[in-house]
Amino acid sequence: MTPPDVNFLALLPTAITLVVAALVTILGFHTTNRALGILGIVGLLAAIASSVLIWGQDLTTFANAYRADTFALGITIIVAVAGIFTLLVSLDQAEHPAFRGAVGSHEFYALLLYALSGTMLLAHANDLIVALIGFEVMSLAVYVLSAFQDRSESEEAGMKYFLLGSLASAVMIYGMALAFGATGSFNLDGIRTAITAPGFQNTMLLGIGALFILIGFGFKVSWVPFHQWTPDVYSGAPLVVTQFMGVAIKTAAFAGLLRIFGAGLPNLEAWVLPAQVLIAVTMLVGNLTALRQGNLKRLLAYSGVAQAAYIGLAVLAAPNLGWPAALYYLAAYTLMNAGVFAIISVLAKDDDGPDIDDLAGLAQRQPLLAAALAVFMLSLAGVPPFAGFWGKYLVFNAVAQAGYWPLVVLGGLMSAVSLYYYLRPVVVAYFGTTVNPELPVNPGGATRLVVALGAIGIVVMGLLPNLVFMWFQTATGVALR
């Protein structure tokens, strides 16, 4: 009997996060909550550092079920940054009466870190079972987090998310089982080999399985029509949790989606057409409903649905183009979305956040905050020279190369539509004649740090896209040999 194939170096980023999460759970009874938050940040920084350490080595472990290639490590770094941003904002909110203090408790930090370890596991998964474990670890922690505040909206959000989420998970697990039945393997490489082998019979079974898996992930990344939970959960959950869900969870879900469909089931007819339809419908519905939102947080929820469609396009592209593009998009998306949510946190009087009209005169009261808001919104709309433009461009380019021109054109049109609703907060903040003196401006240096880091990141990634892209691009070619 051979000893199990375990390469601890490959496990390092995920393991660090998990250990820190466990530490936070235990130490919660011995030290202050603030110290725990800082411990979490330090732990995530260590996870990033370890990812850099093993960058480009393409390590595998557990008999190729766990793969630390550049794609996984890139996702790991992105979700770790998202986690750090969330922790920074929650440090401020823990002390603020508007948020009832719940977000700063040690259970909160522990759950957040467990969720992060789940996202990292999902990113590294090269095996359906590992992907499922990561998916569930991350989901369960976030179900609890969304219900973390003792107000009815938050509890409703958590319940709704949990019920619908479990259903989606169940569908996905069924899909995985069908895929296993059809190919005899949980490993993505094994599945691919089985499909491409001559004389493969179980196309029908595998197609149904692939569709079910697509639905499971489509729920998590909120594709229409599986998006119904998104606005309610986003607006009901505590602000920081919404920020976390909008960024880290979505990134990880996309990682799983790209990995499973890009590496395991490439170009399988059964899912390519449904995915196109889902993405097209999502673009339309997400953008058109976002047009009519009055609350900034809800606006971002719907814009998140629309953005999920753009990122989702990468699934259709060839992995050697689509994966780096998606990584870049997700990195930019993390910075912009986390930045906007941090701004909302500064301006929120409770967890609902401000309405768009409440922003009137922000440019005069808080010029730097308003400037950052303008940068994030223009970047989300995909206006150069900000990072969002390059993200969109890279993804559209990758998909166009794969021949899906109608989707690219639709995406372009919808981007123009999205400019309207992304500009509205900026227009109100800058161009209005009135000033709203009742808009609260919460203190908090850490939240402002998040805003500043996000804005600087967006501008730098916009002006010098290659600075970041060359890392993603050189390495993802290795991921799929």
Binding site: P324, A363, L378, A381, V383, P384, P385, F389, W390, Y393, L394, F396, N397, A400, Q401, V408, V409, G412, L413, S415, A416, L419, Y420, L423, V427, Y430, F431, G432, L464, P465, N466, F469, M470, Q473
Partner: protein, 524 residues
């Protein structure tokens, strides 16, 4: 120098945005003059025989190599002429802004003007299609903020309209850019690369047509051509009453340049196929603009429609696909920003005087109503004279720069389609009609009683006189500017833009006053 001209306004723009007080005006002025000096130096280096690294007109470096996107700028004659006009007019924009814009708004205003200048200089220099797109869209942002922050009451609506039109057009253009690279098989988005590939194996005509119309929608918004012009009147009517922002907006009409630089050489056959409809659209735009201008009651809206009419003429010249017509278009496009911009500034001066009479009870925009006050020439003869000269330049009276452009356009269009030339000529008649009517109603007729209307002051002379001088100089002695345009226009022949029959006329002088032996520079 090639970096200085762009970096000076860019950095100064950000510096000004972040500072406060009256001192920013000096900084802004210094930056705009320095940028103009740098551009002028680059333009003069060749005739003066200056050479060396410092005077390089091209620069190329990697930007996003994985996707073939590089930072490639090159200023040939056409680019330089437009760059000169942009940096020249920015000086006056900043100068007049210093007198007119309220002090607390000044840093933001001048900062945005300078950022816009940087963006525009970038647009005219870009030789990589994606880089062009980035500059094209990035310039939108300061322009949008100029309108949204400092405009009139309905500015938000106008700003959103303007933004959406530009971005939508831009995205169509982006699709065309991606398409042309993909189908040409070029490794990069570099214009020279793609053109080189296309010369070896041209695109099939079906693909070309799609790509051409993608470009055309993007540029027609910015030209603007009917029916994509509807954002423009509101844009001008709602901008800051000083007219400075309108001037910058006029400079941002880069559509004609884009057609010349990208759409025509990349899709020559598609352009030839679409020539008829495009000529018709352009002629219609010209007539329609003039027609609607006739009915306007507000100076700025009048100028906006006059601008649309001019752009129709520019379109006519471009789509004549005849070297003389294209040269004329570019000439008109470059110099119309001087007289239209000058007229916008003059409207700002009028507005200031009228507004002072109003005791503030009326809304700001009504002060620009045409004909509400008449006979102003009796009070301000010098002002009246200068404005009349600017209008003359605008309607193509011989002796001013506009005339040269218009004549060349008509010569070119006549070769392509005599009827369209006739329609275009009708426009000039209509233009004379609306311009002189508006002028008469404002400046002549019985003077209003008991109204004080001051004549030009020192600084206002400083602004209007140089513009008139430049227009006159280039109206009489057009050779320097034409020589800058000609080599690049002639180079279009290599890409098959011109039909065979017109090819030999490239060699003949454009307008008889130009010596035929001047070939200062050919392409790159």
């Amino acid at each position: 120098v090639i970096h200085l001209m762009l970096l000076i306004p860019l950095l100064a723009g950000f510096a000004v945005l972040l500072s406060k007080g009256k001192g920013v005006w000096g900084l802004g002025l210094a930056a705009s003059v320095a940028s103009f000096a740098a551009t002028l130096l680059l333009a003069l280096s060749q005739p003066l025989g200056l050479a060396g690294e410092f005077f390089n007109r091209s620069f190329k470096t990697e930007w996003l190599p994985a996707l073939g996107i590089n930072y490639a700028v090159h200023y040939d004659g056409v680019s330089l002429l437009f760059a000169l006009v942009v940096s020249f007019m920015t000086i006056f924009a900043v100068l007049y802004a210093g007198y007119r814009v309220e002090e607390q708004k000044l840093p933001g205003f001048i900062g945005l003007v300078l950022l816009m200048e940087a963006g525009l200089l970038g647009i005219f220099g870009s030789r990589n299609l994606i880089l062009f797109y980035v500059f094209f869209e990035a310039t939108l942002i300061p322009s949008l903020f100029l309108l949204g922050l400092y405009g009139n009451a309905n500015r938000s609506r106008a700003a959103v309209k303007f933004g959406i039109f530009t971005v939508l057009g831009g995205l169509m253009m982006l699709a065309a850019i991606i398409g042309v690279k993909a189908y040409s098989g070029a490794a990069t988005f570099d214009l020279a690369d793609i053109l080189g590939q296309l010369q070896k194996n041209p695109l099939p005509i079906g693909v070309q047509t799609w790509i051409f119309w993608g470009f055309m929608i993007g540029f027609a918004v910015k030209l603007p051509l009917f029916p994509l012009h509807v954002w423009l009147p509101e844009f001008h009517a709602q901008n800051h009453p000083s007219g400075v922002a309108d001037l910058m907006g006029t400079l941002y009409k880069v559509g004609g340049y884009g057609v010349f630089r990208f759409a025509l050489p990349l899709c020559p056959e598609a352009a030839q196929n679409a020539q008829g409809i495009l000529l018709l659209l352009s002629a219609f735009t010209a007539l329609y603009g003039a027609w609607v201008a006739f009915a306007q009651y507000d100076f700025k809206r009048l100028l906006a429609y006059a601008g649309i009419s001019h752009m129709g003429l520019v379109g006519l010249g471009l789509f004549s696909l005849h070297p003389v017509g294209i040269t004329g278009s570019l000439y008109l496009l470059a110099f119309q920003s001087i007289y239209t911009g000058g007229l916008f500034l003059a409207s700002g001066m009028i507005q200031q005087r009228l507004y002072a009479l109003e005791s503030g009870s009326n809304r700001l925009e009504y002060s620009l109503e045409i004909g509400r006050l008449r006979g102003l020439a009796a009070h301000a003869p010098a002002f009246a004279g200068l404005v009349l000269v600017l209008w003359f330049a605008a309607i193509g009276v011989p002796g001013f720069a506009g005339f040269i452009g218009e004549v060349s356009i008509f010569v070119g269009v006549y070769q392509a389609s005599p009827w369209m030339a006739f329609l275009g000529l009708l426009t000039t008649v209509a233009a004379a009609a609306f311009a002189l009517t508006a002028f008469q109603r404002t400046w002549y007729e019985t003077p209003a009683e008991g109204v004080e209307f001051a004549d030009l002051q020192g600084f206002e002379y400083q602004i209007l006189v140089p513009l008139v001088v430049v227009l006159t100089v280039f109206g009489v002695y057009s050779a320097p500017a034409l020589n800058m345009l000609k080599p690049s226009v002639a180079a279009l022949q290599n890409y098959g833009v011109y039909r065979q029959t017109t090819a030999q006329s490239v060699a003949t002088p454009v307008v008889s006053s130009i010596p035929a032996n001047t070939t200062s520079e050919v392409g790159r």
